[in-house]
Symmetry: C2
Subunit: 146 residues, 2 copies
């Protein structure tokens, strides 16, 4: 009987449902949408520091990347949050296990001067031990008006 | 006896070694290094079309992305391969299952005018059914001289 229970326990562990990729993609799309919503509601700085992983790489056009949450925090310190509004829409997501990415379109509105800029982005995400997704790399480019 | 064999077969399937992430990262770094080598040896066009996945997204600064291998091929058609030399070095790779990415530094030498440009890139890779890695997204930014 003990042996049977033992084998059953092993089999139970073995037959754990494989991760549902479609579900994980949805989850990541939703996370990225929430990220953009937070950027609109609470400002870019709050959002970029909330969803960031400690070992992030942040790419920037014409500048060296920023490595690590600490340096990102320092870089965002003087961001005029009230004058810059960045939002975006993920268009595609893919996930395998704890690694995923989103690709989408961004729109940045500046107050002074009153300008809107457009672009695309790629964000790479890692699922954390607590089940949340944090971005480990973020980059993008300007495009003409979308 | 049949039952025992059945259970043993199930257990054998269950105990298949989990993918060795460190090995997969090395494999992806090597693929990206080979990609750069091909770009130097056979030109950008040949390399970017050899390692590309059919549903690629190619980001470009100041322009809309290119979607799909066919459109990338059309875009690269008139690339003056003899006048542009692009090479790069991956600095980091991460993989989970069939999804991975590399981050690194690139250097582009133009013949006319004689100029060298620098930048960083992110390439997202999917492992194909034949075991090869192909890039599904590629983007990057210019940086100051590295």
């Amino acid at each position: 009987m003990k042996k049977l229970i033992f084998i059953l326990l092993i089999l139970a562990g073995c037959t754990a449902a494989p991760p549902d990729t479609a579900l994980l993609k949805k989850e990541l799309m939703k996370t990225d949408q929430d990220f953009s919503q937070m950027s609109m509601d609470k400002g870019m700085r709050a959002a970029f520091l909330y969803y960031v992983a400690d070992d992030v790489i942040k790419l920037r056009e014409g500048k060296f990347p920023i490595f690590g949450k600490k340096d990102l925090e320092a870089d965002l310190k003087f961001l005029p949050d009230s004058l810059i509004h960045l939002r975006w829409v993920p268009v595609k997501a893919d996930v395998d296990g704890s690694l995923g990415y989103t690709f989408g379109k961004w729109e940045m509105r500046l107050a002074l001067p009153d300008t809107t800029m457009f672009g695309v982005y790629v964000t790479i995400w890692k699922k954390q031990d607590d089940g949340s997704w944090k971005y480990v790399l973020d980059g993008g480019n300007s495009t003409p008006k979308q």
